[in-house]
Symmetry: C2
Subunit: 244 residues, 2 copies
DNA sequence: CGGGGGTTTGAGTCCGTTCAAAATACGTGG
DNA sequence: CCACGTATTTTGAACGGACTCAAACCCCCG
C-alpha cells in the first residue's frame, strides 16, 4: 500500500516523493539506499513531543507528513513558537553541526510522521557526497533569510500587523479557495500559540481577532477562519502607500 | 610594516591573524595563497556603504578591522539595524549560496578594512576543500541560533529589557573596565540606530535612557556610557527569579 | 553666525498588558 | 449519551507603556 505523503513501503527513501524537493535529492541511488536502511520512521500523535530543548542531539529529523511546531524558551518559563515545519523540512541540523544540545523543542501539531537519521549516518553521507553539504548550506541560508525577515517584521509591524501577516502565511499553507473567491482554513494552532508567535498575550490576540471581525476582514469560528477578500488583508501590512 | 588588525603586507592571508579564528582557517597553505592572490582589500570611511540591498551578489566580504552595521528594510522605508559585524566576521554568504541579490545592506560604522572574495574564487575553494563548506555550515548555524535567540528576546522582553540586553552585549565588545570595577564604553551607534535595533522609536529610547539614569543603573553622556554595577543590569533581564 | 542633523522633552492618544471573572469547548468516565 | 472537570477562549476594567506629533535643544560644521 502506498503511504500517505511519504514513501512506498518497499522502496524506502527511493520512493519518497518528498526527496525530490529537499536536501536529500542530491544523493545517488546507492547513497539513498544507505539512508533508507539507517533511518527510523515513526508516527507521532497530536501534541507528542519529538525532542526537547536541552537534550543532546543524536541526529536530525525529516518531516514526512503532518506539521511540527518549533518552540523555544527564554529560560524564564516563557516559551515562544518560532515557526512551523512541514513535510520535506529537516529539523535539528544545528545541534548536529555544532555538536551542541538542542536549543529548541519540536512537537507534533497533529498526527505526524517523521524520519530520524542518526548523526553518524548523516556525517557519513556528508563526507561521501559533498553536494549534500552544499544543499544544507542553501537550506540554512534560506532559513536564515526567513528569520531575518521575521526580525524586521517584529521591529516594524504592530501586533495586529504581525497577526495579519501570520494569518496570510498560514493561509498559504493551510488555506483553500471557495467558489466565490474567498478563502478559508482550519487553524493548526491554538490562540495561545498564535499569540506567542507574534509575541503578544493571548488576551490581546482575542481582541485583535475581535477587531478584525468588526472591520469585516475575517470571520473566526473556533479554529476555522474565513477571509472574504484576501486583498484587503494585504493592504493591512503594506499600508497606505501613496505612490503605488 | 605590520598592518593593524590584518595581515603582514608580504604574507597576505597567511599572515592574517584573523584567519585563525574564522572559517578560512581550514585552508591549506596552497589554498590560502590562492585566496590571497584573488581578494581585494579596501579601506572604508565611517558611514561608507559596503553593499546595498537589492544589488547582485558578486562575492563575500571579510571584516578585517573596524565594525560594520547590517541593515535591512521592510520595503516601506523602515530600516532596521539587524546586527553588527566585527573583525573575523564574514558577510554576504547568503547571496552567494542562494545566488540571489543582496537582501540587506552593510555600512562601515567607523573607518574599517574589509577583504572582498569573488564568487568564483569562493566556489573554487569550496570545491577544492570540503572542510571549508563545513566551516561555513557551522558559522551559519551559529548565526541562526543568534537570530532565533533574538526573536525570542523580542517576543519576551519589554523595550527596556531589550535595550538593557543590547547595552550588555555592546559592553562585551566595546567596554573597558575601570579601576573601581565599573565599566564604560563609547557607543558605536547613534540613538536612532540603537532604537531601531530594539524595534522602538528613538523618542522611546530617549525616555528609556532617562529612566535608566534615574534608576542609577547607567550614566549616559553623548556616546559614552558608564555602568557602575553591571550586575544590577543583569538583574533587569533575568528578572525576579525566586529560586536562584 | 546660521544651518542641519541628532537628541531630548512634552502632551495627548492608542495600544497592549495585567488581573480577574465569565463563557465556551473538550475529553473522560459514568 | 450525558455529566463533570479541565483547559481554552472571551470579555471587562484599570493601568502603564509606547507611539504620534510637535517643539525645543544641542552640538558640530561650514
Amino acid at each position: 500500500m502506498a503511504e500517505q505523503g511519504g514513501g512506498m513501503s518497499g522502496l524506502g527513501c527511493l520512493g519518497c516523493s518528498l526527496r525530490q524537493r529537499n536536501e536529500w535529492c542530491v544523493l545517488s541511488e546507492e547513497e539513498t539506499r544507505i539512508l533508507s536502511r539507517n533511518l527510523k520512521k515513526r508516527q507521532y500523535r497530536a501534541g507528542e513531543t519529538i525532542f526537547s530543548a536541552g537534550e543532546p542531539s543524536h541526529g536530525i529529523y525529516c518531516v514526512v507528513s503532518g506539521a511540527v511546531a518549533i518552540r523555544k524558551g527564554d529560560g524564564e518559563g516563557n516559551a515562544v513558537l518560532l515557526r512551523l515545519a512541514y513535510p520535506g523540512d529537516t529539523l535539528g541540523y544545528r545541534g548536529l553541526l555544532l555538536g551542541e544540545n538542542r536549543r529548541y523543542s519540536a512537537e507534533a501539531l497533529g498526527p505526524s510522521k517523521l524520519c530520524f537519521v542518526d548523526q553518524t549516518v548523516t556525517r557519513l553521507l556528508l563526507d561521501r557526497n559533498s553536494a549534500l553539504g552544499r544543499q544544507f548550506l542553501r537550506r540554512i541560508a534560506a532559513d536564515m533569510d526567513e528569520a531575518h525577515d521575521h526580525l524586521v517584521r517584529n521591529a516594524t509591524l504592530s501586533n495586529r500587523g504581525k497577526f495579519v501577516y501570520l494569518l496570510l502565511a498560514l493561509m498559504n499553507r493551510h488555506g483553500r479557495t471557495a467558489s466565490d473567491g474567498s478563502r478559508f482554513m482550519e487553524l493548526p494552532l491554538s490562540r495561545r500559540d498564535l499569540a506567542s508567535m507574534i509575541g503578544a498575550r493571548h488576551e490581546t490576540l482575542s481582541r485583535i481577532i475581535g477587531r478584525l471581525e468588526e472591520d469585516g476582514l475575517a470571520r473566526f469560528s473556533g479554529r476555522t477562519v474565513h477571509v472574504i477578500q484576501p486583498h484587503s488583508l494585504f493592504r493591512e501590512i503594506r499600508p497606505p502607500t501613496l505612490l503605488d
